[in-house]
Symmetry: C2
Subunit: 400 residues, 2 copies
């Protein structure tokens, strides 16, 4: 297996550190728009790693780099506006493809808070037949959420339930960052994109529909000492992926943003500072959202100042295999102190990065295989969960 | 009188429209960094008005323009970061000077929320002897607030009170802007500067001191149907000016920002978006505060969509001339519908702009005169209040 990793930011760098301990691949080319950043990501690792420059906005550049290094698998670890050129570039070069976020949505032109427009991943699913016909695999949404959360959904359907009422992904943390009034632990660009788009919900008798942002607030009690966190509906890939392969009456995603973060996001939106459309400022054209990101500390650099744990998981309700009512939360917790000590990467990016590396190893060994555009729930969940535990990062399950 | 008006933004353009109806001056050169904006400001007015380009950051450029047009009085109507070059340029060219905001403050390096550092106007007052010796007048803070509010303070001391406990400037409005979630009715750059700097308070037995932003919230009941508005301490020139000429035990400034505006300002600060220090965004260097301003509509263009009234005034408590307790609110209200119909300028900028034009007319007629760096309360208040009424914009007084 010859891997091209596109993006040496927080998640990409953590993926390098995780992969460096595994033997399943021959080479990993780590490419970034900033070659220095790619070089720093591989600096302490063995000779299988190579740094390269790439413009992720160019499918041709991605394809050329694939051909140059005879790449078999492309792992996309940049923000989701670059999904399509990387996806297309991998296909053009005959490589398989993995990402952790899918092609972007566009709200319904007249009823954005009631109906879906272009959905997350629609552009990718539109090419699924092409990928199938070519015998190539695009494994989409294989980070932590989407990713492990989708594996949990499939595991619940296969092993724990006879009928599912709701699959509700629930994400929460108790992370704090010393010395900052406000310091998101994940890309603010992506967080704004997720949280300010109309959240999407799936119901068996209604299909996909949307609501206004921050709808259906709910206090969810997270395990491992994190405790209760207010969660709200957020647009997320799981809601688009899970119903394609797992039978359930309802699929939702709620993010434990907390009151303060929600207030910040609402204010950014009210002032137009979430916009990606450039504004003119003393002769320069800049995207307000890029300026917001530039004002905040880079979350990948905050690990030493962070404290606490982050939890991702899937809450499933319905009838158990014995037909009796069952409620189960399947989850994965990373303690920032552990991930910093073990890998030198903060909890949120480490937790995201471990999953595509596990998936690549399953593809390398043949435990996972397929063709077309697939979500993680399209593939058998047990090998994934077992190998994740083998990576030293076990998952948990709570009956509720 | 030959006037150079620097700045053809909202306030400058309104000052042109107001001055155009008066006969006390010979010429008014309207200068802006954007010559087109200056030309638009004078387009519908008589031959006394001339448009010019000027870089307000250059004292030499301001002085050269003064000499070219034999200017006797410079009126500064740009944002306060340009106070010092315009002030110096006017002095170099032998002109008198008026402004509506004073040189900027810098917080105390170690105790910003307890002690003053460099105060508003300190840089200008440091040159007062130079101006006095040259027989030149710098009349500072002669907009609405500071400006008319200072005139009210002096009027209260001269005519209404034998002893003053507190002079509290109180500003509030019920303006709304149709079609916008959030649209400040005044320069957001200046509003951020005022509201996020530590507010300053003056007490006779303590001198000037500061507090954290948004301190001492108080609901003040405004006249003319505006009603109760939550007001908080804000850094403002009146607190620095009034105690130099008017005897009082305490001087404060509170701004009726309202909860929503306070929340927006706190969020901008938390994210560093209030900062004027440039950040690097994809190769461009931009000031986050400029980006915030660029994302919001230009308040000068909102007049047609605005509704409501704005009130500025001075609340004075103490002992009346008869020695008995007295509480008086001296105020000035502008209805946006009136200012748009009469002048084509929205209420907040019109209310600011009328005062320096009245002051210029008093200087032209000799009713006001002086030398050195003076605040409005250094000069006799009655001629000012009478002429303001003569401009069709009467003031009011409420016993409380």
């Amino acid at each position: 297996m010859r891997i091209l990793l596109v993006g040496a930011g927080g998640v990409g760098s953590a993926a390098v550190a995780i992969a460096a301990r595994r033997t399943f691949f021959e080479t990993m080319v780590v490419a970034d728009y900033d070659l220095g950043r790619a070089s720093r990501a591989i600096a302490e690792h063995d000779g299988r790693f190579v740094a390269a420059h790439v413009d992720a906005a160019s499918a041709d550049a991605v394809a050329a780099l694939c051909r140059e290094h005879r790449i078999t698998h492309v792992l996309n670890a940049v923000d989701p506006r670059f999904v399509m050129p990387i996806f297309d570039g991998a296909f053009a070069a005959g490589a398989d493809y993995l990402d952790m976020a899918m092609s972007l949505s566009h709200p319904h032109p007249t009823r954005p808070h009631a109906e879906t427009g272009v959905k997350l991943g629609d552009e990718q699913f539109a090419r699924s037949e092409q990928w199938s016909a070519a015998g190539r695999l695009a494994l989409c949404g294989i980070g932590i959420e989407p990713g492990l959360s989708d594996v949990f959904a499939r595991y619940a359907a296969d092993e724990l339930f006879s009928e599912i009422d709701e699959i509700g992904v629930r994400d929460g943390a108790n992370l704090t960052v010393d010395g900052y009034d406000f310091a998101p632990s994940f890309s603010i660009w992506t967080t704004i994109e997720e949280c300010l788009n109309p959240p999407v919900i799936w119901e068996a008798d209604r299909g996909w529909y949307t609501t206004p942002p921050f709808s259906e607030p709910e206090v969810f009690d997270f395990p491992a000492g994190i405790g209760p966190v207010e969660c709200v509906n957020v647009e997320h890939e799981e809601v688009l992926l899970v119903p394609r392969w797992v039978k359930a009456k309802r699929v939702t995603f709620k993010y434990g943003l907390g009151d303060e973060f929600i207030e910040v996001l609402k204010t950014l939106h009210k002032l137009g500072l979430d916009s990606t459309r450039p504004v003119s400022v003393r002769g320069a054209q800049v995207s307000p959202r890029d300026v917001v990101a530039a004002c905040l500390p880079d979350p990948a650099t905050l690990g030493d100042r962070m404290r606490g744990k982050t939890c991702a998981g899937t809450y499933v309700t319905g009838a158990g295999v014995d037909g009796r009512p069952r409620k189960v939360y399947l989850y994965h917790v990373v303690d920032n102190g552990w991930s910093m000590k073990e890998y030198g990467h903060q909890a949120v990016v480490w937790q995201t990065a471990v999953n595509p590396v596990v998936a690549l190893e399953l593809l390398a060994t043949g435990a996972w295989s397929g063709a077309g555009v697939l979500g993680p729930e399209a593939l058998p969940p047990v090998p994934f969960l077992d190998l994740l535990t083998g990576y030293g990062s076990p998952w948990g399950m709570e009956e509720r």
